[in-house]
């Protein structure tokens, strides 16, 4: 089985989107500059021409509208944002236009397009370069929101979006994942990839996670298996707007213990949504109260001294697993120390 970094998968997906669909156009601020959206669009202007790959004015709203107009005319626009925080400037077009263009006109139009937004973390990204805004967009019927947690998901989901799906798709890519390596297999042609994935099977605890928190969950699962023999099941929601509800419920009924791990704030977000799904469909399945792993409910501080309290990592997940399994907040099990974590994390260094 081959390995590929998240960045390589993105670069491959962008190239194949342009190669396989002659109507694909790729644009966004910096798409053609020397950094090429963190190396995911490099060389594509040269290969496919500036008609199809182009830089833009800093006009997020109008550039999104331009994409909708292109999509109405048979093109497949891919619009990039180097931080998803900038997508708030396109919120009107995404929510009021793209999400509704099909429904509001009784199905007379379709707006197939892909919007890529990157989530920042670490090295002092601060309050406006580190948000994780998936829940804002997932709330709105008509927008399909994905958070690929691995290279395979990038390849499957982007290929499907570009070549088969006829609605606007918003993808949140986590900047921390760009340098992670993943195993990749042959693409799953026969399956709709806009669903959830069972990442790891287990019988003791269920972790429902998104994006980079899927990796954190995997690290935590490995740790508690080695140290305490606890079997953790991990579900990667992957498509926030179209989760595999049955997969989640089946796992929860089996383990009775659930941790939801999101990259954003807990309230009104993925944690709230998964809790809602369980409460509505299987209220008796939880043996103990659900645990939520999320950002602290504050804007993101810049200094490392505060930032380390803002984000959760695999240590917090391990702590929660022990709490669930022991039924006590003070479980007396040792958590992974800094030395152990250092072997897992590649230190992210700025500026981006």
């Amino acid at each position: 089985m081959a390995t590929m970094t998240y960045r390589q998968a993105l670069a491959k997906a962008m190239r194949e989107a342009l190669r396989d669909n002659p109507k694909t156009v790729l644009y966004g601020l910096g798409v053609t500059d020397h950094t090429g959206i963190f190396g995911t669009t490099l060389g594509l202007e040269k290969e496919f021409g500036k008609e199809r790959v182009f830089d833009t004015p800093i006009s997020e709203d109008a550039m999104t509208g331009l994409g909708i107009g292109l999509a109405l005319s048979g093109y497949y626009p891919i619009h990039t944002h180097i931080r998803n925080d900038f997508m708030l400037l396109a919120m009107n077009q995404l929510v009021n236009s793209a999400a509704k263009y099909k429904y509001m006109y009784g199905g007379c139009f379709t707006v197939p397009m892909l919007v890529r937004g990157v989530i920042g973390r670490s090295w002092g990204q601060g309050a406006q370069h580190s948000q994780s805004l998936q829940s804002l967009f997932s709330h709105v019927p008509g927008l399909t929101v994905i958070m690929p947690s691995a290279a395979q998901s990038i390849m499957d989901c982007y290929r499907y979006a570009v070549n088969e799906y006829k609605s606007p798709v918003i993808s949140f890519e986590h900047r921390l994942q760009y340098d992670y390596s993943f195993e990749v297999k042959e693409r799953r042609d026969d399956q709709n990839p806009f669903t959830s994935y069972l990442i790891r099977k287990g019988s003791d605890v269920t972790i429902v996670a998104v994006s980079v928190m899927v990796q954190e969950a995997q690290r935590a699962a490995k740790y508690v298996k080695e140290k305490a023999g606890i079997e953790v099941e991990i579900i990667d929601i992957n498509c926030l707007t179209h989760p595999d509800v049955d997969m989640i419920l089946e796992s929860v009924k089996k383990t009775g213990k659930v941790i939801v791990a999101d990259t954003s704030w807990a309230s009104f977000g993925v944690c709230a949504e998964v809790a809602r799904i369980i409460a509505v469909n299987a209220p008796d399945s939880l043996k103990v109260p659900l645990k939520e792993i999320s950002m602290a409910k504050s804007p993101c501080p810049t200094t490392k001294a505060l930032e380390k309290h803002f984000y959760a990592d695999m240590g917090d997940i391990v702590d929660n697993i022990y709490q669930l399994c022991s039924g006590k907040e003070k479980h007396n099990q040792s958590l992974p120390d800094e030395e152990y974590k250092k072997t897992l994390y590649k230190e992210f260094k700025g500026p981006f």
Binding site: G69, L72, S97, G106, C108
Partner: protein, 323 residues
Amino acid sequence: MSNLSMDIYRKLYLIRKSEEEIRRLYPENEMKTPMHMSMGEEAIVVGVCHALSHDDQVFGTYRSHALYLAKTENTDNFFAEMCGKVSSMQKGKSGSMHLCDPNRGFMGASAIVASHISVAVGAAFANLRLKNKKMVAVFFGDGAIEEGTFWESLNLACLMKIPVLFVCEDNGLAVHTSESERHGYDSITDIVGKFKCNVLKEESTDAETIYKLVLKAIKLNEENQMPCFLHLKYYRYLEHVGINEDFNIGYRSKNEYIDWAKRDPIKLQKSKLLALGYGKELEIIELQIDKKIEKSIFLAKKAPFADESELYKDIFSDNEAVI
């Protein structure tokens, strides 16, 4: 001359008569949709649409009755949608504010001020690349100029040489707020003229004058590959939303209306044709249109509503497995 004048009158009369019927029928409460009436602006939309071809595309606002009828003349669908019936191609999901007809180049109408302008620029950009010669005209009020996205879209079209017609229908009002309370400038055409954009303006209520102006705009575009900003004045006869006059409220004077009504676009066109001796032909045309509208309303009233399953249709891609 006469064919052109007659064709233009036919569209003007169709629009005015259709809206008069809405005013007559609205109290029956069968048209459950907020009516933003077009009365007063007919010369602009008819003039512009008559200069466009069948395949050319338009994007409108929530005030698009006139634009829809000028571009499509499809009164059957118009009244079906006003009544919210499944016989409309929008199946009652559009109402008065989101009219469209992709088969006749009407590409949508937005109720969020200015939000459709960049979408129209995108469609024009697509046409440019497809080399299909389709023109795009986007209609918006003077209030839309106060939105940032207007300037983003203008900059984009000028930068990328996208041949879109920006049609500013200036009635001097944003809901009830006058331009003196909104504009930090004197002349919008002076400002837009600083961009790489053709700029034309007109205060006439003569649809033929507007028609000729738009032909000029299209010719200019062919010559210099720049978009065109058309600044066109008109007077909104009725309240912002609803079917009534609102001169009693006091934010504007009825004398303004009386001045504009003297050169009402429908009366003006009719008087020109009468002066040319087309009285008989006008009678025939008006009678035909009256019957067409009467039939459309009859069909709309008779048609069924969509059933509940329609509520969940057309939200996502058709190949969506899970909703």
